[in-house]
Amino acid sequence: MKIKRSENISFWYDPDKRAIVYQVGAAFFVAFIAWYLVSNTMTNLANQNIATGFGFLNKEASFEIGESLIEYSAADRYLKALSVGFLNTLLVSFIGILLTVVLGTFLGIARLSKNWLVNKCAAAYIELFQDIPVLLQLFFWYAFFYEMLPSPRQAINPFDGLFMCNRGLIFGIPAAHPVYKYMALSILLASVLIFFIKRWAKKRQDATGKIFPIIKVSILLILGFPFVCWLLGGSPTQMSIPVLTGFNFKGGMTVSPEFAALLLGLVLYTAAFVAEVVRAGIQAVSKGQTEAAMAIGLKPGQLLNLIILPQALRVIIPPLTSQLLNLTKNSSLAVAIGYPDFVSVAGTAINQTGQAIEGVMLIMIVYLFFSLSTSAFMNWYNKKTKLVER
């Protein structure tokens, strides 16, 4: 209930009116700065004869890009060049996130090990890699791949089908065969199937108390489906092995030194932070929970799956996503070692067209898209895992 004020209160002593004055003042201040910057920019752009707007996206890019997931040539438009960069950013972030989660979880668990040596090694790793700037680590790995590895002719060949040289890592892959497409599809199918089995199993457990071995079945399906596909497709074993012809390798798959350095640097750096997150999450589950679970007779596997993980994940997931988002943002440092990610391609576009404002805006929009979608996911997740208090 609002207390009724006397009518003859003076303007400056009425908090509501004063609040309006403050806000109008702030709005004017921001508007003035914006107007000042925009008008300066307009004058400067006009004086320097720089075009404005996103029209340049439709012009010919006329620069080559070293690595691309899609077909691209210098004759393509800027839009295509930028999407090549965007896909490269996605690629390095996606693989980086997978590897970081695995390595980080491993290190986080090692950090809690009762084995003194394992524990201290993990601690030393975490401290060392957290405290060195990621850019320096990227330069270090780039120098490692570029300077310290030999030229293709003297490539290190630890075992058949793998070559390491300053052109990158070159390794054999299964030769192209239509069966692999079906194998990928079957994995997708298996995932959908697992999703439904999981729902059914939960419903059945809620109703009858019977536990379904969901994890074993999932692993069986995920591995079994592609395997059956492979058998049905005539089990192709043909490999594409790289061979040295002249100055370079033919066949196989090449991972460029830029990509390898970027991936290695980002993964090793972020994994140190993820390890701390995982450690804190596991430690956050109180010991009584473990003891209680043991007291009611849960097996170690059940203890981990039903008691520890659900509680630890609630603590782990929010900081984990922010670390993985950091990895995505740090992948923009690719520009420093010459990997054509989005920032790098946009930087080239800025240099060529001079349209700096549009270029920087595009970079910001792309990364804002990543971070806003991540925070949308986080809100959804937090709502889903919120403790229901009864």
């Binding site: 060195i132 320096l136 310290m148 943002k329």
Partner: protein, 363 residues
Amino acid sequence: METHANIDHESVVKPPISSVGVIGWIRGNLLSSPGNTILTLIILGILWFSVVPFIQWAFLDACWHPDANCREATGACWSVITSNYKVMLFGFYPQHILWRPVTAIVLLVAMLFISRNRRYWNPYLGYAWLIALVVMGVLLRGGIFMLEPVEIGKWGGLILTLLLSVFGLTAAYPMGILLALGRQSNLPVIKTFSVFYIELIRGVPLISLLFMSSVVFPLFLPEGVSISGILRAQVAIILFTAAYIAEVVRGGLQGMNTGQFEAAESIGLNYPQTMRLIILPQALKIVIPPSVSVLISAFKDTSLVVIIGLYDLLKTTQSTLSEPKWMGFSAEAYIFIALIYFVCCFFMSNYSRQLERELDTGL
């Protein structure tokens, strides 16, 4: 008392030799189960095959003398550092007056060392910092007291790294507090501006702001006005760090009990008084440890100015490495500056952990 003294020492059974002392420790911590034993052996194996060759490379076979012929050595070539460390650490600062940046850095380290101790946290320390910063500025810039002037463009290497991080944080902190207060404010317009700013900045990588400072910012200025690249990068770092500090401070503000606000209101304090006298002193104390984390990442992030071509520690090292004589010795040079960064960050993160323990009042 007597009864205790009468115990026959011979009859007291000592713990078995295998469960105390070194052997007991090894059994308990390294070999407690077959799995653990295997793990220990694997780790020892990995350490043996990585650390021993590293020591061989870095110390036993290494060249240290500035004039050593590195190309023929099998080990590390530390000569790249012993003969170039002045350029790496101080950039293009005139070589004959290097005592000035050295003194400034020593002064900074001394001030940081004194500030570690919470007993000295009082207004006088603030004044001392102000004086120290001015003295450092005078030492570096010169131009008065018969000191030879050195323009800011020539400050490089470690000086630039420290400059960007120290000034970045001192300027970003007040701005971050204002933004945090804005975000917690009841006034919708101010709240919207703050939220928009914080989320925008936190959503984009620092490199995009640095790009902005180097290519877009000149367009913002009226004709004929230009600002040096270092200052523009400094502004970008301040704007970036402020958003992160705002979130840290917001955490502290949200941790405050509503009773504190109500109590302040009931004794008739207005908003600025409430904040200055009641809320901020308590909230800022809570957020000291996370602020140190922000400081650490700001310090590490200053290395990104390499990408827009400023000569910080990383860039001076790279320019050394681009000389034909030192080409190919990147590993040694990078390990050296990694060590500098590591030592700084390690002390800061240790300090933040120590503070966390000290400030933990068990609530």
